[in-house]
Symmetry: C2
Subunit: 195 residues, 2 copies
């Protein structure tokens, strides 16, 4: 449907840009470190509209996590294809993980693995969300492993968690400032050593 005619004063912000901006602020500053003021400024959105749209900071954060998953993780998941041999797909997957975690110096690492993981310490809602996001990637990896003829020693579900752990470890290392080229070599080595 092509946008019903809207009454009232027109929005001064863009809803999609706003979520993208919020994602960046949380990604760079962490959940507690991102103040509502800073978020409003980056989102080009007045406080009242922010609360109207998202309810509170918690739910804005969850919306940002969802936006991040849709725009960053879904494409990454598609690298797993299957497009080529398992090893090739894993290499391109790790390669994209490194790209995601290093491409913007102001948002190093992974929003989920660093920021949500920290916030999960106190907030049960965030802890459950972290678990869901982690499980989703592992399910995807397990599926890909199962589709492959190659049969490593351990069950696919276990190996999937190994690979997911490597991916998350790479993003942590990126947050500490490790250069992309080094991390790419690590990703390649993991894909090869693993099979």
């Amino acid at each position: 449907m092509p946008e019903q005619t809207r009454r009232g004063r027109p929005r001064g912000y863009d809803a999609t840009d706003a979520l993208e901006a919020a994602t960046s602020v949380f990604w760079a500053k962490g959940y507690e470190g991102a103040s509502i003021d800073a978020l409003c400024r980056a989102m080009n959105m007045p406080r009242a509209s922010l609360y109207q749209l998202f309810g509170d900071k918690q739910h804005l954060f969850l919306a940002a996590i969802d936006h991040y998953a849709r725009t960053r993780l879904d494409p990454l998941s598609q690298c797993l294809g299957p497009l080529g041999a398992l090893e090739e797909d894993l290499e391109s997957f790790f390669d994209q993980v490194v790209t995601l975690a290093t491409q913007d110096p102001s948002t190093p690492g992974c929003l989920i693995s660093s920021v949500l993981s920290d916030a999960a310490g106190t907030n049960p809602l965030f802890k459950a969300e972290l678990d869901r996001r982690f499980a989703a990637l592992e399910r995807r990896l397990s599926d890909r492993l199962s589709q492959s003829a190659e049969r490593p020693g351990a069950p696919a579900e276990v190996l999937a968690v190994v690979l997911a752990s490597v991916a998350r470890g790479l993003t942590l290392r990126a947050r500490s400032g490790a250069p992309a080229t080094e991390l790419r070599a690590v990703g390649r080595a993991a894909a090869r050593a693993f099979l």
Copy 2:
């Protein structure tokens, strides 16, 4: 030297217990989430003494990180021996990683991989500290790999980062609430898969 005679009013707190308590608070609540009030209460230390001893919150956090490394990571590093075959040592290393990350439900995961990693987003001092701590583990793993007769495909320095990434990934998964038994199986699979 056996403690010079001290003038002045005696301390009402214990210096070692205090750092241990601070570590727990940061570990559970994150850097921003840990208020000075909460820290003082847990450390059984008055504000004035805390500032006298550590200067400010930043440096208290760094002191807690150091305490954590000495009490948690050094013993973990010793699992790498060499005590047995490389695969056996790696298995016991991952096993201890999982134990560390799951043993206390109030402090899930790893202080460095979750809390320091989040805080590294804004604070350059913390980012450098994160890099140092990560590099130290990788150096230790690389040394252990070099001491082994087994020669995997990739260079020891690269493979060391793969293994360190797995370890960190395991602690992240623990923070999301994954049960220890599952993670132990993942650690065993990783030790076998990468050799």
